[in-house]
Amino acid sequence: MSTTVARPAPSAGTRSAGPTQPLPVLAVDLVTDPSLLSGLAGLARGLEEAGAGALTLSDGGLHPIHVAAHLAPLTSELGLLPRTDAIYVEPFHLATQLMSLDHLSHGRAGWLLQAETDPAVPAAVGREVLGLEATAREAADVLTAVRAVWDSWAPDAVVRDTERGVYVDAARLQYADIEAETFSLRGPAITPRSPQGLLPVLVADTDRAAVGERTAAELADGRALDLDVSGGARTRQLAARIESAGPVRLVRLVGLDLEADPLGTVAQLAAALRSRALVAPAPVPRRTLRTRLGLPAAPFRPDPARRSDRARQIREESA
């Protein structure tokens, strides 16, 4: 893996992000409407060539995580961030699906954390609609739980020790052991640690209120600035929005007209915003999304209390 850090922007003086935070990645939001199906692969490849640094996949019917996974082998550099609900899902499944996306995209996966407010969604899983405060508390709990699952295998847990016949070393695994208000979860993950270890978790402006301040401002890795381009994309206005936005990791074009000339629009916007040093350069190969977003590497954090070979330890102690 590359160890180079993001190059500072040529004229960093005017931009709002702090000195250590690289320029935000330019993302395009695709709503996963089934009408997209036949052109999906071509569209993603085209957007990648046009200079998009990432795609966010918002739920329009097709499951956003699976659409992101589908696009992973069909693209090579795009970051892939499903915008998907934290509340009316099983945290264990969610964690597994997202870390699987990270495996098969070789470290290009992220999560745009959403907290569902549409009452149809809890009804579909047989749950009551949560109030705003309860939703925010649960979003925080789910993010904490999901990260604990992601962090349950050391990167070198699969030892494949042919001499001893040991495939995985239990001492390099740990339980998640989450006891939250509305759920509990034991772990460890059923999937080995993914390339990024911890996926970048961002909150889009659209979702900030529902997700709650604690998750958006403290627990998540950063903010995605939403730029609505459904009424047309005027560079000067968009540039002004980015400049006044404060620190953001992702600049996200929402409402792109897919009927008109989406690739042309994105190519033109990417070039214009890059020439003003407002968004990061086009992605370079083999960099994880974390790196591109300016997030530090996420080393395994072993926690002695959660070691999964503790039964053995206890046995040894009591022997």
Binding site: P34, L37, L40, A41, G61, L62, H63, I65, H66, V67, A69, H70, L71, A72, P73, L74, V89, E90, P91, F92, H93, T96, Q97, M99, S100, L101, H103, L104, A120, A123, A124, V125, G126, W153, V158, R160, T162, R164, G165, V166, Y167, V168, D169, A170, L173, T182, F183, S184, L185, R186, G187, P188, A189, I190, T191, P192, S308, D309, A311, R312
Partner: protein, 454 residues
């Protein structure tokens, strides 16, 4: 379509098992197609994939899945299956260290494979106890749409509270309710796929939703069922398109087919509407002698001294590390009677007392050590087709002609190259013998399994 089953007399073994009229050797209501379809079962977590060899690849890397799926497609396999286990296997309170462990989420992976394959079916094993039906139905339909009608769902059930510790509802199902719940679950999914209004009030939860995705090219995902209990077979007969169960011998396969035909008729369905694809391990070589040698070598690689002791510990429920793997089976009684100490899919033992006594006697009679016993058992447990390319091809022709099975779900003992000899040597021989398709029948999984379309 070739009709190989009418061309030549059956072998004495097969003839002895065939009791129906000649055209319908097993059951008057069942007309064998004489054709076989292959699937490949990438198990992930398991004890039969050899990971110690230099040729063994990464069991989680995208490249391994892609390579295996491409080989299977080259061999005109109908389906690519992924297994599922929702809690990391444990052995005596610690994650099990000796076998392949860890795998990606099945559907997430299959959604990616849908983009790099064209014809092969993509089947996800997914549990009905620890999923929500509308969520799962939406994900499966997404896969079906992304793949152009190639999705399948291997419906499995589990009730154990141990797995439930990873889920909101916990372990809330009684064992007897597994299939009752599974059936209600599948009905909700079917309503979703048909775009209907769903108002389900079950014993465990109420669901209100509306199917809002278009139908795929095959209408809905193909339903597989894996589980051999009578309740499981009834569930399959009422609900599934394909049964995927373990039985290695021709006799066992014939019995199973008769049972499924009877249950399918009792459920008011055409017996041809439920296909049978048992799981199988295939070990091949150019000659019989080489194949026999290779089987021994594969078993040695699969089961070392550590694995042999761990296998017995599952049933004895206690630490057996003091016993010599080259010595006789432990002469101590088991500690756990109700369930094994290894926790994970498929490990549930009723009477350890009785079982361990039988095994001790059996091994003593045959003069087997712990290691020899474990290796022999590993072979016997699986549906195993071993031998020269031609012998195995001829044997499979017999299964096909008799109508005992509709194909095999092949578990490779090596990842990712474990299908190479099957695709290069066995498939062409089956094609020459007229029991295996030269080309894909269509673009959907349903078509390629010979299931009724529409």
């Amino acid at each position: 379509m070739t009709t190989a089953h009418t061309q030549a007399p059956l072998s004495p073994e097969a003839a002895a098992l065939a009791t129906g009229p000649a055209a319908h050797p097993l059951h008057p209501a069942h007309a064998p197609t004489g054709q076989l379809a292959f699937g490949v079962f990438f198990q992930g977590v398991n004890s039969s994939t050899i990971w110690r060899l230099p040729a063994s690849g990464d069991q989680v890397a995208w490249e391994s899945f892609e390579a295996l799926a491409r080989t299977a497609e080259r061999g005109r396999f109908a389906a690519f299956f992924l297994g599922e286990g929702l809690r990391l296997r444990e052995h005596r309170g610690v994650p099990f260290e000796l076998d392949v462990a860890g795998r990606p989420d099945a559907q997430t992976l299959l959604a990616a494979l849908a983009g790099v394959t064209e014809r092969i079916g993509l089947v996800a094993t997914q549990n009905t106890t620890f999923n929500d039906p509308v969520d799962l139905a939406r994900r499966l339909q997404t896969l079906d749409l992304l793949s152009g009608g190639r999705a399948g769902w291997n419906v499995v059930t589990t009730d154990n509270a141990w797995t439930g510790e990873n889920f909101r509802r916990g372990g809330y199902l009684d064992h007897a309710d597994r299939y009752v719940h599974a059936e209600a679950f599948v009905r909700v999914a079917e309503q979703f796929w048909r775009g209907e209004q769903i108002a389900h009030d079950g014993a465990h939860y109420a669901v209100r939703a509306h199917g809002d995705l278009p139908a795929s090219a095959q209408g809905r995902p193909v339903l597989f069922q894996a589980g051999a209990s009578p309740a499981g077979q009834d569930f399959a007969a009422r609900t599934a398109d394909v049964v995927f169960s373990p039985h290695g011998t021709l006799e066992a396969a014939v019995d199973f087919r008769r049972g499924i035909v009877e249950r399918t008729l009792a459920a008011g369905r055409d017996p041809g509407s439920v296909k049978i694809l048992p799981g199988a391990e295939i070990i091949l070589a150019a000659t019989e002698a080489e194949a026999a040698e290779k089987v021994r070598w594969v078993r040695d690689q699969q089961i070392g001294p550590e694995q042999a002791l761990a296998l017995l510990e599952q049933y004895w429920g206690r630490d057996l590390s003091a016993f010599d793997p080259d010595g006789p089976l432990p002469d101590v009684p088991p500690e756990v009677v109700e369930s094994g100490v290894t926790r994970g899919a498929g490990f549930q033992f009723a009477d350890a007392e009785q079982l361990t006594r039988t095994w001790r006697e059996e091994a003593a009679e045959k003069g087997q050590s712990i290691l020899e016993f474990a290796r022999a058992r590993a072979g016997a447990r699986r549906g195993t087709f071993t031998g020269s390319y031609d012998t195995v091809a001829d044997r499979l022709v017999e299964f096909a002609r008799l109508g005992a099975i509709d194909g095999l779900n092949i578990t490779p003992w090596l990842i990712p190259s474990g299908l190479d000899d099957i695709v290069d040597e066995l498939v062409p021989r089956l094609q020459e013998r007229g029991v295996y398709p030269a080309e894909y029948a269509g673009s959907t999984l349903r078509e390629n399994l010979g299931l009724p379309v529409g």
